[in-house]
């Protein structure tokens, strides 16, 4: 089995030290998780392995032979393959052709041999357990999960004779692969990873998702502030220990204590129907944090989208005695704030100043009677909110694209906070957010609730729901199956409830 060893890796960007004696070893036949908060040095380490950055110092050996990295070709020659969450695919071309983008097409009489092309693709997909994917289907018709499987399968294509000296790929680096996958897709990906591992490949798996890591990894390496903290055997470690490695904080500290809230409802929902939803009903009290749990596709996010008016809907929705508006514009005006799940595509304006994203829903309040903008009031509001959410940015003019995922999320929270909303809708509020920023966000949600805002959190992170909410509504195929108080609720019990009758 190949054995990659990285020791004493150093890398600085100007005065900022990204890696400080980082270390990692990866063997064939294992899944090795790499964890750490944002800024811990995970991406720098991966970029060095991929040949996109040069290390300042350190040693990288493959089977005790020093490895010269420094270019993407060198990484490829060493047998490394990298799978990012944002895949580069050509939607209009077929699956088989996408797989052959960096491989020569099989030819016959100098022309493309289409049957051979499809057969090679089908064979590689089959090896991965992805035989359900049609090699001639257009790539664009596939879901994100299947697209990722296609990308993995492409690495299994036999190398052509002309490149016979190139070693077969053996090390796969997955960077947050499940970020945009549904539960079923993730399950298929995990099965494919298991097959790669059984074939002797080493998998380096970078993820924020503790559940996945605990289910998948054989060993876990934690980095903090660019340094190697610990490498632990999954079988003999625990979540608490890993979180402690990452943060220096114990997990119990992650969630602020529950508080009591009033019983008076701020939002009542009766017979809510929308695409993917039917007959949903619940009350949300002032100051309550209500969780929405359920398997992927059960309708967690759809409830929030229907409430903000993004989905066409029917039903009786009452906000503090008045009917809830059925457009996003109307809902914001009534004091409903929304933090969408797709942060980059539905939340922020990446290329524009972060202050603009924060001020956008509140422009009407920030202008004179004649619609003239009060620039100073806007700047003051943005500064105040950025401080409230402990945003790390150079100033209101910094483009959102330059912020980390956690800080982008804080931008969206900042704008939801403005003007003390009556109801706050949060869809996967800590998705792609590092542990430190998570803590800030949980504290913020709590503070909002304490000040009387009703909060609804849809999340796939069960620990988060139990830690944060007073009650959790469990969704099953577009309906509410049960509403459980979190007092004394265990993760196992909640998961069982999510699986419902299926489980």
């Amino acid at each position: 089995m190949p054995h990659l060893r990285v020791t004493d890796l150093e890398k600085s960007f100007g005065a900022a030290r990204a890696l400080d004696r980082a270390a990692l070893d990866l063997r064939g036949g294992e899944v090795h998780a790499l964890m750490g908060e944002n800024g811990a040095g995970k991406s720098t380490l991966i970029r060095i392995l991929a040949g996109l950055e040069q290390a300042d110092a350190g040693r990288v050996t493959l089977d005790d032979v020093p490895l010269r990295l420094g270019s993407p070709d060198a990484a490829r020659a060493a047998g490394f393959r990298f799978l990012h969450q944002e895949l580069h695919v050509i939607p209009a071309l077929g699956v088989a052709e996408n797989m052959h983008l960096s491989h020569p097409y099989p030819l016959r009489f100098g022309l493309v041999d289409w049957p051979a092309l499809r057969a090679a693709a089908a064979k590689a997909l089959g090896r991965l357990g992805a035989g359900h994917i049609d090699p001639s289907a257009p790539m664009g018709e596939l879901g994100a999960g299947d697209q990722m499987l296609v990308r993995i399968a492409a690495t299994l294509l036999p190398e052509p004779a002309t490149r016979a000296t190139t070693p077969a790929p053996w090390a796969y680096v997955f960077d947050e692969p499940t970020a945009s996958l549904t539960g079923d897709e993730a399950a298929r990906l995990f099965a494919a990873i298991a097959r790669l591992k059984a074939d002797g490949a080493g998998i380096l798996y970078v993820s924020h998702r503790m559940d996945e890591v605990m289910a998948l990894a054989d060993r876990i390496t934690v980095l903090r502030d660019g340094a190697h903290v610990a490498t632990r055997n999954r079988a003999v470690t625990s979540r608490d220990e890993i979180i402690h490695d990452m943060t220096g904080r114990a997990m119990a500290d992650l969630f602020p204590p529950h508080v009591r809230h009033a019983d008076e409802p701020v939002l009542t929902v009766r017979d809510l129907s929308a695409p993917g939803l039917s007959g949903v009903g619940f009350d949300l009290a002032r100051g309550e944090i209500l969780g929405l749990a359920g398997l992927s596709g059960a309708g967690r996010g759809a409830v929030l989208r229907a409430l903000i008016g993004d989905l066409p809907r029917r039903g009786h929705l009452n906000l503090d005695g008045t009917d809830l508006a059925d457009t996003p514009a109307g809902a914001w005006a009534q004091g409903v704030a929304y933090v969408p799940r797709e942060r980059r595509s539905q939340g922020v304006m990446l290329a524009r100043a972060l202050g603009e994203t924060i001020a956008l829903p509140h422009l009407a309040r920030l202008s004179t009677r004649f619609g003239l903008l009060r620039h100073r009031a806007q700047a003051a509001l943005v500064r105040h909110l950025a401080h409230e959410v402990r945003l790390k940015a150079s100033g209101p003019a910094q483009p959102v694209a330059e912020l980390s995922g956690g800080n982008q999320q804080k931008v969206l929270f900042a704008r939801a906070l403005a003007g003390q909303p009556r109801v706050l809708l949060l869809d996967e509020p800590t998705r792609g957010v590092d542990v430190g920023a998570k803590f800030d966000i949980y504290a913020l949600i709590r503070r909002m609730a304490e000040s009387g805002t009703g909060v609804i959190v849809a999340s796939s992170d069960l620990v988060e729901l139990i830690g944060l909410c007073t009650r959790v509504a469990v969704m099953d195929r577009g309906r509410i199956a049960a509403i459980l108080p979190t007092e004394g609720l265990t993760e196992a019990a909640l998961l069982t409830a999510c699986y419902g009758k299926e489980g």
């Binding site: 990446l350 524009r352 009407a364 202008s367």
Partner: protein
């Protein structure tokens, strides 16, 4: 250093063009009279380009402005031949511009047709309508009210140069007024900030409570108004109307907005930057004509300068990638 060049390179390029003409034409270029001439020559283009800025802020664009300018002039001229009063005919022509803009906005914002396709289609329709109304003829002479051409030659007295009076041309004043109005709208009102938000990320803007469809539609309406106003200014300047006379405004207006984008910090369209783009085009036409550069060579040069400016600032590519 490289960042500095990227940020200010094309601004210096624009200034350098002015300096080159100043040196090459020491007696005639940098004179009050010539500069006022340029301001009048670009007045129509200014109106089209600053209102085009509005739709380009939201990430759309409008190919139909040129033929709308022709159509508006033809509509007004045909009404003059039927003895309509001056004000009423102009009002109907401007209303036609707004209606055309709303039609564009409806196709793009409500029906979701790509702006390129939708406005290419309406370009053809407006142009056809202009031919139908005019019967393909140029309307001129006594049919065009004297008051209009008098207006195009009038101006605010600024003093004298030599023995002749200097006038700030009326057409320049209209262009300045329109520029101020759109600047106010885009930079100082919530309306404008919402348009920029739509350009930044339309889906996110909608989720944040912005009425995306309505605002995109309204931007097209303003652009249609600007196009028809420019068409009427054109008619006043040439004291005639024919169904193709404004067609050239479209490409120049889009070029001016792109040139302007190369001088802005965020790489987005802004009104004052667009005016800088318009002036660059106007100065090039004026200076190269005075230097007796062949009119076809002049076209090639103008295109080359647009390419050079856009590529040195790398705006074109960056804006595309982030959208």
């Amino acid at each position: 250093m490289a960042a500095f060049v990227k940020r200010y390179g094309s601004l210096f390029g624009m200034l350098a063009i002015v300096v080159v003409f100043w040196i090459a034409l020491p007696d005639t270029f940098m004179t009050a009279r010539n500069l006022l001439n340029i301001s009048q020559q670009v007045a129509m283009l200014t109106v089209v380009a600053v209102t085009m800025t509005l739709v380009m802020v939201t990430g759309d664009f409008d190919l139909s402005v040129g033929s709308m300018a022709s159509l508006a002039a033809v509509v007004a001229a045909v009404l003059f031949t039927r003895d309509w009063p001056l004000g009423a005919a102009l009002a109907v022509a401007l209303a036609a511009g707004v209606a055309g803009g709303i039609a564009n906005g409806f196709l793009v914002a409500v029906l979701g047709i790509l702006p390129f396709v939708a406005t290419l289609a309406t370009l053809t329709m407006f142009s056809g309508a202009a031919f139908v109304f005019s019967g393909g003829k140029t309307i001129f002479g006594r049919d065009i009210p004297q008051a209009l051409s008098d207006f195009a030659r009038a101006g605010l007295p600024l003093g004298t140069a030599g023995d002749k009076p200097l006038l700030l041309p009326a057409l320049t004043l209209v262009a300045l007024g329109m520029t101020a109005l759109v600047w106010l709208l885009l930079e100082q009102t919530t309306y404008g900030r919402r348009l920029y938000a739509i350009g930044g990320n339309a889906e996110a803007a909608r989720m944040a409570g912005v009425r995306v469809r309505l605002l995109r539609l309204s931007a097209f309406a303003v652009t249609g108004f600007g196009a028809s106003l420019a068409g009427l200014m054109y008619m006043a300047r040439v004291a005639s109307a024919n169904p193709v006379q404004g067609d050239g405004l479209m490409l120049s207006a889009i070029a001016a907005v792109f040139l302007g984008m190369t001088v802005t910090r965020d790489g987005q369209p802004h009104v004052l930057a667009t005016v800088a783009g318009v002036l660059t085009l106007g100065v090039l036409d004026n200076g190269l004509t005075q230097l007796q550069v062949d009119s076809y060579v002049r076209q090639v040069l103008v295109g080359a300068i647009i390419l050079a400016a856009v590529s040195s600032s790398a705006i074109g590519r960056k804006a595309l990638r982030l959208r």
